[in-house]
Every structure is written in C-alpha cells, then in structure tokens.
Symmetry: D2
Subunit: 212 residues, 4 copies
C-alpha cells in the first residue's frame, strides 16, 4: 500500500477531490482498551492519532503530556485520542513489556497500540503505510475517516486546539443530509475551567490574577 | 447600562434567545492604531478582547504573551485581537504614559485602548459595563458582535484554540443565507509551522524529536 | 568617581591587589526598610545587590523572582538581598509611586532603593558610579564590602547558588585573625526542603518521584 | 552492612563525631567510562551521586537534566558527577540494553553504573546499603569520601549550587595540614557566562534584558 505522503489540505477547493481515507493501522498488542480497535470503530468521531516512541525525549517532554491533556479535557463523543507506538530504533529497549511499564509510570490512559514490526525493515508497518517521518507525529482524522492533518514534531497547544475544534465543528453528515447537526464538545465545562473558579473573591493578586 | 453578568452559552438550545450583543466599549486613548476603534469596526470578524492591567502579574506572565501569540499567529481577516487597559487600582502608576512605555518594552502590537475612568468609582466605564471581575479577563465576540465567552483568569492555550476556532468556523451569514460559506484561517501556514520545517533530515534526536 | 569597570576576580592570586571596596550607593527613597541603608550597614554579611527596572521584561520574568527566592530561602545573618531601581529609560513611567505599586503587586519583600537621578544624564547616579551595563545586573559584595562579581543579564540559579555559597563560606575575619570562624547558612533547613518532606511513603510515582 | 540512614549534618559541632565514610557502591556494568569506578577513585574531589531510574518521570523531567547541567558546567578537578541506575521496579523494562538506549537518546555524558540486583529483594545492592528511599535521590560526598547530604526528591538548582559550592570550598587537606589550599572551580568562566556575553551592545530589550 502506498504511503500517505502528505496531509490532505484542511479546506478543499470546490471541484478538488476530497481528502483520502486513512488506511487502517496494523497494531498488536493494545493497551488501555479491552479489545482491539480499528479506525472504523471511530467513524463519526474525530481521531487524534499520536505516534510516539517511549525513549523519544520530545515525545516524553511535550507530545505525550499534550495528548494526555486532550484525553482528559476534550475527548468524548466527538473526539478520541489514540496512541501508536511506532518503534523504529532501539527495538530491544522498547518492546511491549517496557511500554507497559512506561504507560503505567506516566499515567497514560488513552488506548495505545503497538505498531507491528516488519521483517525486512526497521520501520514498523503502519509507520511505513502512513509515511511518518519520525516521532512525535500527529495525524488528525475527520468524522468520515479522512486524513486532514499530518504534523511531524512539536505542535503548539493553541494550534492544536484550533485544528481539533475545526474538525469537530464540521457537520458529520454533510454526505448524508437527512440527519441532525454536529455534536460538539464544551471544553469549558465546570471541571476544566479551574482558573476562573479557583479565584477567591477577596482583593489582591496573590494567585497572579487581580480580582476586584 | 446593566452589566453583562454572565457569558452567553456557547451553544444555544433551539428556541432559546440568541446571545446578547456586546455593548460598545468606552476608550480613550488608543495605542497601536491610527484611529479610534469601535466594536462595529470588527463586524464580520471574531474579536478576542483582552482586559488587563500592566501591573497585574498574571497578565504579564501569561495572558499578554498569549494574546500576542494569537495576534502573531492567528489574527487576520477572520479574527482580531483587541486589548483593553482596565485600571481599577494603582491609578497613578498606570496612566497612559506608563502604558505607552509598557507596550513598547513588551513589544505588544495589537490595538490597545484605555478604558475610560469614572468619577465616582475606582472601576473604569467599560469594566463596569461588561461586569468584569478583575484582570486578566477574556471576552470572545462572534462575527455578529454577540458576546459568546467571558472568562476571568488564566485560560489554557488548548482551550483558547478550541474556542476561537469554533467561533471562526461559524457561518457569518447564518442570518443572511444567500451568501457563501465562512472564511477560515489556516494557523499552520508555512511561517507558523516551524517545528515541522526545522527538523533536519538526518537521524538522531538532537532537537528532542526523532526523525527517521 | 570612576566607574568600577570590571568585576574583581573571584580568586586573587598571591601578591595581586585585593578586590576594590564597592563605593556606596546613592539612593532615595527606600522601600521595605524603616530607615535608609548604606553598604556599611551590611559589613560582615554578603550582599546580593540586584539592579532592575520595573518595566524590564527580563527583570520581571526571571531576575526579580530569583532575588525574591534568595530572600525567602537563603537570606539571614550571612547574606542580605538589596534591590536597586536603576531607571535609565521611561523615567516618567517608573517613578517612586509606580514602583511602590509594583513592589506591592509582585510581593517583593527585600529592601529596595531608588537610584538617584542625575540632572545631566539619563543614567542615575549609582548606575554610573558602578558602571552598570543595563538591567538586570547583579553585584555580589563580600563580607568586607569588596565587589567580587558583576553580572549583566540572566544568571542561572545553579551558578548563583555556587557564587553565593563561596562568598558566604569565606572567613569574614581573615583580616582580623583573632576571632571565630565564619557563620554559615543552612539552605536545607526543614522549612525549605519541601520536596523531600512532601513525598508520601506509599509506592507509585504519582508526584513524579518514585518512592519505595 | 547497615544502611546509612540519615545524611550527616553539614556542619559538625565541635566534639561531635565526623560524618561517616560512605561505603562503596556495587555496580556492574558501567556506561560512559572506559573502566569500572570505585568511590576511592574520586578521593580529593566532591562527588555528586545521582540515583535514578530511566522510567521515573521526575528523574527524566528534572533530576537528570540537572545532573547533566552540573556535569557540563561545574564538573572538573574539584567535582565529579556519577549516576547510579537503581532499579527497584519494572526490572524487565530497565535492563542494561534499555539503559544504553536511554543514555544515548538523552545525551547523558557522565559515568553511570547499574546498581547490582539482589537475589532476594527487588531492591538492588547499593540502594539497600545506602538506605535510599526512592528515585531521584542525591548523595553528596566530600573530598574525604564522607557522606554529607542525602536528599530524596527534587532539589532546587539554587540549593544544589549552595551545597556543592560549600563542599568544594572546604579545605581538602584539613586532615593533612602540610599541603596547599583548596582547589576551586570557577563556574563563570567565559564559556559558561553565556547570558552576559550574548547581550548585544545596542539599546532595546529584545532579549528580555535592557542594555544601555
């Protein structure tokens, strides 16, 4: 299967072909899920697919905490976070038992699958299939299973929020016009809007903010 | 005029009244703009209105850098950033000349207006009118001039990105259905997608990420 | 008086002249002290003299929090922190009333003096006298009043700790040999060694550290 | 051998017994050194012994970068940094091959030894011998091989700098009075005093600091 070499444009021009469907991953085993998962299981939801290696410093310092924050604060009926352990170096040090310890120590709670090794390549199967350039990589898949963004390296929280929200806001039924409107998440539900709620009513700037 | 006490819900229920129009601010003087600005000047664009004080530690450490990042990376035809200097304490230390020096030293480039002092209150006019609870405060106004979010305190970049994108994605002409679809920003234009582009082709994880 | 152009070497070679005495500052008014202070008031203690401007971003973000941490955790009989507000630009925005508001909002508790303006120069008196190159600047004065280090710009906490400790460890009476040994601070007294004490006894790495 | 249960006090009272000699570690294999090392190899130098696990989040995020900074900026004739991989959990995931990959990816350059596993305990030998409470742990050993500080958890850079400098400043020959004075490091040699040197001569606060 040919690699998906570049991300589909976020906004199709009129007359342009639609973004391609992302082919399914090839994963075994899974963590944080009672049963194997395929892309088709997420149809109707936006999927944030996060490719990492447990010994990649940039993954550990930035991308994995970001993925866990999205899982904790945004994931739900409209959005799912999925991890993909794409080991392409130090294979002996990053097998499934090591990954299990890593997931435990770093308190990762989203489903994580191990990209299947290939016999004749250091790259695992899905990594080749998707044309990933390294770790961390981020793939955003829309409600119809189409690849919409492909990013290698760090991505600022502000931009990630913009991209996720844009995909979530799209009408999942634009191809099936006889249904209702999009479901949407509300990231500022009471349990997440902590800064606002924790500000005491008294004057002074002790917490950094200055209430009346 | 009665204060706008709470933010309008992000998603109106069917049959519920629409969110209120935000009344205009009362500002003098302005910085970073050749002429005075009113809310009506931004009709058709989402407005991120950032209320701050130059001696508020949380504004300086977090909210103002965040506003400047939005200005640098997201603002454009679809989104505008506007600062509002809402001085309600230490009035002598935060007059317009002091603010001018502050804007210069902190390299702020978005339009900033000074909320007009009131004779009989330590609170300036717009702060009272909008019912702000302190600084930093963030008000998000949609393309129709309606207040959609009102947040006091720090707001995570991820959530801000979600909120901005959601408002930007709304059809600005939903009340005038005979026009084209929404204009959208692309935050991942080449000049902003730095992390991806700066990764060298060689192997190794020297920059934190691990390229192939 | 000629400026003190370079910092004295930390370690004098045998036969080399001793580091120069730092001339006194010229300051008015003072904050956080009931009476004016001169360098002679600190003889016998190491002095960390921190030159800053309230509208200098690097001072606000890094150097002033560092100075306050030293004040909170290391200052005492052996070490004193003194701030020097050396305004050389935006004079109208950084007068004593503005500084008072700034000190209040940023919760600074060490003594801070305003470097005296000069009629014929934008630089204040002490800044000229000491040959400071800008803000933030750090001057370390030993127990005998001699300038031992002069640093312009940010200084890493690790290095600052080394420098302070080295000066504190010096025998204050090496010129008056008939007295007792040096007094020393203990930065790891119970109230400061928080990380160690706060670790729960149970297993797991929930706080980032991994107890048995 | 009985564990060294508590750190020796930094300052011995007159008449009190001297701090105990730290017993040697039991380590195999070593990384980043051409031959095995014992504590006796470091006599005359202060040793910063850093106990960690490669899957301990607090070690990876804070303690190991701190140890590498000390190695890069302070280590030399007066001070040595030594790592001790004290695996007490997830033994299968943190064997020597995995550690080798970790050391490579995180660019650690100081000598690191693997604490020898024990047959009848999950704790390795040296960890038991020293009475370590978990990871990260920091042991500071003076020039005579005596344990002077034992810290479990994170330690602020400022405090670490103070502690290291104090031990370095001690006369290594106080028991052998017929020799010369202490050797000392200079952490502000030209190659480390980067912030000061990188400040351009022109006006403006672009880098955060405000030069004249």
């Amino acid at each position: 299967m040919a690699p998906v070499e570049t991300a589909a444009p976020a906004e199709s021009n009129a007359g342009a072909p639609p973004p391609p469907l992302l082919p399914d991953w090839s994963v075994e085993p899974w963590f944080n899920t009672p049963r194997p998962l395929g892309l088709a299981d997420f149809r109707g939801r936006v999927v944030m697919l996060h490719s990492f290696q447990m010994l990649c410093p940039g993954c550990v310092a930035q991308a994995l905490p970001q993925a866990q924050t999205v899982q904790d604060e945004l994931a739900g009926d409209a959005l799912a976070v999925v991890g993909l352990h794409t080991v392409f170096e130090h294979h002996d040090a990053m097998g499934p038992p090591a990954l299990a310890a890593f997931i435990h120590e770093y308190r990762l709670t989203f489903p994580i699958g191990v990209d299947r090794p290939q016999k004749d390549s250091p790259l695992p199967e899905t990594m080749s299939r998707y044309g990933l350039r390294g770790t961390p990589s981020l793939l955003l898949v829309d409600r119809h299973g189409r690849l919409r963004h492909h990013h290698f390296g760090r991505l600022a929280d502000l931009h990630l929020g913009v991209l996720l929200s844009r995909l979530i806001a799209e009408d999942p039924n634009q191809n099936e016009p006889d249904q209702n409107g999009p479901r949407r998440i509300d990231p500022l539900s009471p349990q997440t809007a902590k800064s606002s709620d924790s500000v005491p009513g008294s004057a002074g700037c002790d917490t950094g903010v200055c209430p009346l």
